[in-house]
Symmetry: C2
Subunit: 329 residues, 2 copies
């Protein structure tokens, strides 16, 4: 293949998230030729979501001026561990899925081979092939948003593990007996460093009467606080916002050190809503915390970098995943 | 090779620990033909320790009735991360080593090729090739003694990582801002679940006047409590011993879940002084804690097993390591 050529044919990548579906058609170099976005509407159930995904694929193909037959195949990231033998999504608390046949259903809707994996795994694969981690062999990554997802690539290959939960770094316990986590246990990274954790602690502080400009920004009764609000309050020097966001970044640094001590990657990637909004501010806090928690020489020359692909990471990673699967057939 | 044949020639394995050196000569099936043990006497310095290692090798060879020339080579485990390019031990707080040329020095003393790695890595490789983890591909292991060592094998290969600290699972932070650890940070597994952590907490409880039979067992002023004492007190139902040892086992279960969520191994191995002394009692506590902390399906059919090779694990793993290195040449 010529220089800069990534795929032998154009590829389709789908990022199916809890709130939106985002699909791209990429050419042989990984450049986006067409894209489409829709709300997920997960409440309508699995079949309806699959149909909406198929619609985004057709729209992205149309925008790219290509038919499905001209593409090599389709990769798809979903917010769930995925059985790599069957392409079924094993469980998504968010979408209320339990062992649903994503690959099989999508292949019925579309006349192209479909390959499915966890969305954060594919986001990391995107960064590995096209983004911040190009040229590395082994990486670990954290996407810090509403929840915290993780992904790991060891010697060039995504780690899926025995039960397909490999890379679930957001559920690493860093504070034993700490706050409850959505996953049912306590003290996970997600329970102390995600936007859900932040919202919990900000609302509690407001109830206790801690002064903060966030009080007027958030609606009465909501427990969701948007990244945009946090960014504004942090940059305005709001004490509560600065303290709590820095604490999140500090906890992420502990998890960065833990996985570095364990596998010694070539690079750590940080992304997701919080680092997209406040990367320049939070990255140094995470780096300092990691340095504090590295074991001996584990952190020597260990780059900790912000993700580069933003909203395209999962969809492009999905395209890379499908291409790799097709090449291995 | 015939069934049950592990090596093409007899191999030498050296387990160099902080307090003792233990060397075996193993035949082609991994059976021990000769062995030798000496105190390490680390205070005499690196060169003296290397000479003592060479003496154990000659004694073990004599007992086996073999010359070094009849053996394929020598593997050696040391309590330090080891630079896999040079065979130098990077740092051992215990032996006060900093970047010392183990491979080079041992090869001067003995006319056989020498291959060096971290002792816990090699203990895990021993269990993988000859012990509890035979037939698996990916494992993580914890040796819980005075400190806590860890090792990981992914798809059949030891994980060394960029700075050769791969597998340092004892320095995974599980209790952010927890008790100080010997490594300089806080809240590592080693700081809450090792014999050093236990000794600290037992001595503190005794000072506070908590009744325990351990009070009469430990010498005034000592901060070391032997596994034998702990075993006796635990089996006698001493409340303090039972509570604190169960708490150690519970913390180990958190670390087991963390690494399982991250890499999804085929098996987890637990060994070291505490599990050797009280494996039947502590294993169920660790298993229950891990079940509590696994993410979703991560722990499905996940065997958590006691190590089987005991004192031979590191020395036999070292022999396996040398054989693998020689086969790869």
């Amino acid at each position: 293949m010529a220089k800069n050529t990534l795929f032998s044919k154009p590829m389709i990548g789908v990022d199916l998230g809890g709130t939106k579906i985002y699909t791209v058609v990429a050419d042989e170099t990984g450049a986006v030729l067409g894209s489409s976005k829709k709300s997920t509407q997960g409440k309508k159930g699995f079949d309806a979501v699959m149909r909406r995904c198929a619609e985004t694929v057709n729209e992205a193909l149309e925008q790219a001026g290509l038919s499905a037959g001209k593409c090599g195949g389709l990769g798809m990231g979903v917010p769930s561990p995925v059985d790599q033998n069957t392409g079924a999504a094993l469980f998504s608390p968010n979408l209320k899925w339990h062992n649903v046949p994503v690959k099989k259903t999508m292949e019925k809707h579309l006349s192209t081979p479909v390959f499915v994996d966890n969305d954060v795994n594919l986001g990391m694969l995107g960064e590995f092939a096209l983004g911040a981690a190009r040229g590395t062999n082994t990486i670990a990554g954290f996407l810090v948003g509403t929840g915290i997802g993780g992904g790991m690539i060891v010697n060039g290959n995504l780690i899926h593990g025995k039960n397909f939960t490999g890379g679930e770094l957001g559920h690493m316990v860093v504070l034993a007996e700490g706050p409850p986590c959505g996953c049912g246990t306590r003290g996970c990274l997600e329970a102390v460093a995600s936007r859900v954790a932040l919202s919990r602690d900000i609302n509690e502080a407001i109830r206790r009467g801690v002064p903060t400009m966030l009080k007027d920004m958030i609606e009465e009764g909501t427990d969701r606080i948007k990244s945009g609000m946090l960014k504004k309050a942090y940059r305005a020097g709001d004490r509560l916002a600065v303290d709590l966001l820095n604490r999140c970044a500090w906890y992420v640094g502990i998890a960065v050190a833990n996985i570095t001590n364990a596998i010694g990657p070539d690079m750590i990637i940080l992304g997701g809503g919080l680092y997209e909004a406040l990367g320049q501010e939070l990255l140094p806090v995470t780096q300092q915390s990691a340095q504090q928690h590295f074991f001996g020489p584990a952190g020597k020359d260990m780059p900790i970098r912000l993700a580069e692909l933003g909203d395209n990471a999962v969809a492009l990673g999905a395209a890379v995943f499908a291409d790799r699967k097709l090449s291995a057939l």
